[in-house]
């Protein structure tokens, strides 16, 4: 352990405060009894109750969940395949291109991805709604899934698969019986990451959605423009809790998986 030093501790506190005080305020005011956002009127769960009676908000939440489920599953599948190609197939022609193209959405401004997708959907005359949002989210989260799974595959001992083949398992069965169960935690982590990315995305959804398809972040955003109500605070708090839960369990999974491989 490093020796405790006051300036370091102060810097840590200030940093954390800078990052988390706004969120903390939001959470605290979601339990506010008063209708006024800036005045504390005692503890209450009334806004959570109101939330569940707010049909448009609940519809938006349900839509977001469905999109997140679909897009996370597709992105994880594609990410697994891409990661396998990058980690396994050696130096095939176009490997650098594939690696670059997959990583590009990590750094590309979301507005540009959103705009490009919008132009594509309009050009294809695709009816915008659930599926276009889901596709947009797959575009974004596939790269994150790929990175998570690839980093696991890099440390994966190839001789495990070779041993399975040596013992009589054809390559596909060696993959299903040995590789897949061992990298499963990384795949699960990738899925969770993709799920949260989809759940809290506003920019891509705004571009890719059409009439009648409003996701939860879009609904919250438009509600805030009409004035912040404690109801929005409550919805946000639930969203934060959900995302935090998923991110923490995903990182725990990756960590445990890494520890297992080091043993």
């Amino acid at each position: 352990m490093k020796r405790f030093r006051f300036p370091h501790f102060l810097a840590l506190i200030l940093g954390l405060a800078f990052l988390y005080i706004p969120i903390l305020v939001l959470i605290v005011y979601s339990f506010n009894a008063s209708r006024l956002v800036t005045v504390w009127g005692g503890f209450s769960l009334r806004w959570y109750a109101a939330l569940f009676n707010n049909q448009p908000l609940m519809d938006a939440a349900w839509l977001s969940l469905r999109i997140a489920l679909v897009s996370a599953s597709v992105a994880t599948l594609l990410g697994t395949l891409a990661a396998l190609a990058l980690a396994r197939f050696g130096r095939f022609t176009g490997r650098t291109w594939l690696a670059g193209m997959i990583a590009a959405p990590l750094v590309m401004p979301e507005v540009i991805i959103g705009l490009a997708l919008l132009l594509l959907f309009v050009g294809l005359e695709a009816g915008r709604g659930f599926w276009t949002i889901a596709i947009a989210h797959v575009t974004l989260s596939t790269c994150f899934a790929t990175v998570v799974i690839q980093s696991r595959l890099v440390t994966f001992d190839r001789s495990l698969e070779e041993a399975a083949e040596d013992l009589g398992a054809p390559p596909w069965r060696a993959f299903l019986a040995i590789t897949l169960p061992i990298i499963a935690p990384a795949i699960a982590a990738a899925w969770m990451l993709a799920f949260t990315l989809s759940l809290d995305d506003l920019v891509l959804a705004s571009f890719a959605s059409g009439p009648g398809a409003t996701t939860l972040p879009m609904r919250l955003y438009s509600a805030v423009r009409l004035g912040v109500t404690p109801e929005v605070n409550a919805a946000s708090t639930i969203l934060i809790a959900l995302v935090a839960l998923i991110v923490v369990s995903a990182s725990l999974m990756v960590k445990k998986n890494l520890l297992d491989t080091r043993r």
Binding site: E162, A163, E165, D166, L167, P181, I182, D260, R263
Partner: protein, 386 residues
Amino acid sequence: MAKKSLGNIRRSFAPWTDPAAKPLVTFERVTKRFGAVSAVEDLSLAIHAGEFFALLGPSGCGKTTLMRMLAGFETPDSGRILLDGVDLAGIPPHRRPTNMMFQSYALFPHMSVEANIAFGLRQEGMAKADIAARVAEMLALARLEGFAKRRPDQLSGGQRQRVALARALAKRPKVLLLDEPLGALDRKLREETQYELMDLQSELGMTFLMVTHDQDEAMVMADRIAVMERGRIAQVAPPEEIYEKPASRYVAEFVGDINIFEGAIAAIAGDIITVESPVCGTILLDEEDVSLPAGARVFVAVRPEKIVISHDEPALSANKVSGEVWDIGYLGDYTMVQVKIGGEGGPLIKVALANHARRAERPIAWEDQVWLSWEIEAGILLGGEA
């Protein structure tokens, strides 16, 4: 006479000396390149059924590549590999009747010891009851009876090694491939395991092909050793012959300690060769069938344990040299003395003195002027390549 006594070593198992014997594994002019680097170069080798065969060489000499080609993980660029008369070309690893024990053991971490051993049998579609019986047999063979339900990470290194061995043996392969089988064990355990492996091999009558960089391991366990040098075979012979009659300077220096003197052949009289060396004068050797002419530049190699050290000049006309004791390394079972010839800047000669008695007194001390000498049979004549 050196090589005659060598030929007299009693050997009950030597199929490679029988020209009519059909080898189990044959490598025929096999070449494998990785990019511009050739890992195995035009290599031919025959391994007989029931042999414990070792591929010995430094890292990067191609020994592992050769084994992986037999297992099917690498494809030769040219040449053929035959197993039991069948050309293995085009047969994928999972259909080859070989099994491999991996250097890292490659135990499946998410399966119990039992499931690891049963994995290969399940791939064959063996009946459940038969699998259970075979697994029990393998657990007993590897002395792992109480550990069937454990996961690999709940085992010690030695136990993991035995699981890997049991798993590779479970399918009763025609050839068992061992990739540095003892590399991950500590010294004490390694010595025990060596003899266990040898017993197991003769008990099962199976053919073992081992890759190792450890000469002691190869010497102790193998019936025959192939010493490899940059993708080629430098010598294939039983351990005694590799040690006592190395085919080249490379083999002599790779296996065991050795002193090498440069010189030129002065005379050849039947089996007795006279070599004049600038460092230690006249050297007499006893070698058959020397094809080199008088005057040829040669190397004479002498093993440290075959050199006698004394304070008085020995009554010999040749094979003797005087020098100063430079270093004494006490190793318990023997003492390695380094003697400097010809004063400052001269070569060092290693002499191994067996410590027969538990005496503290040292007959030889630092800076002593001593004489070194050896028998005619001790010297090995090596061709004069650089």
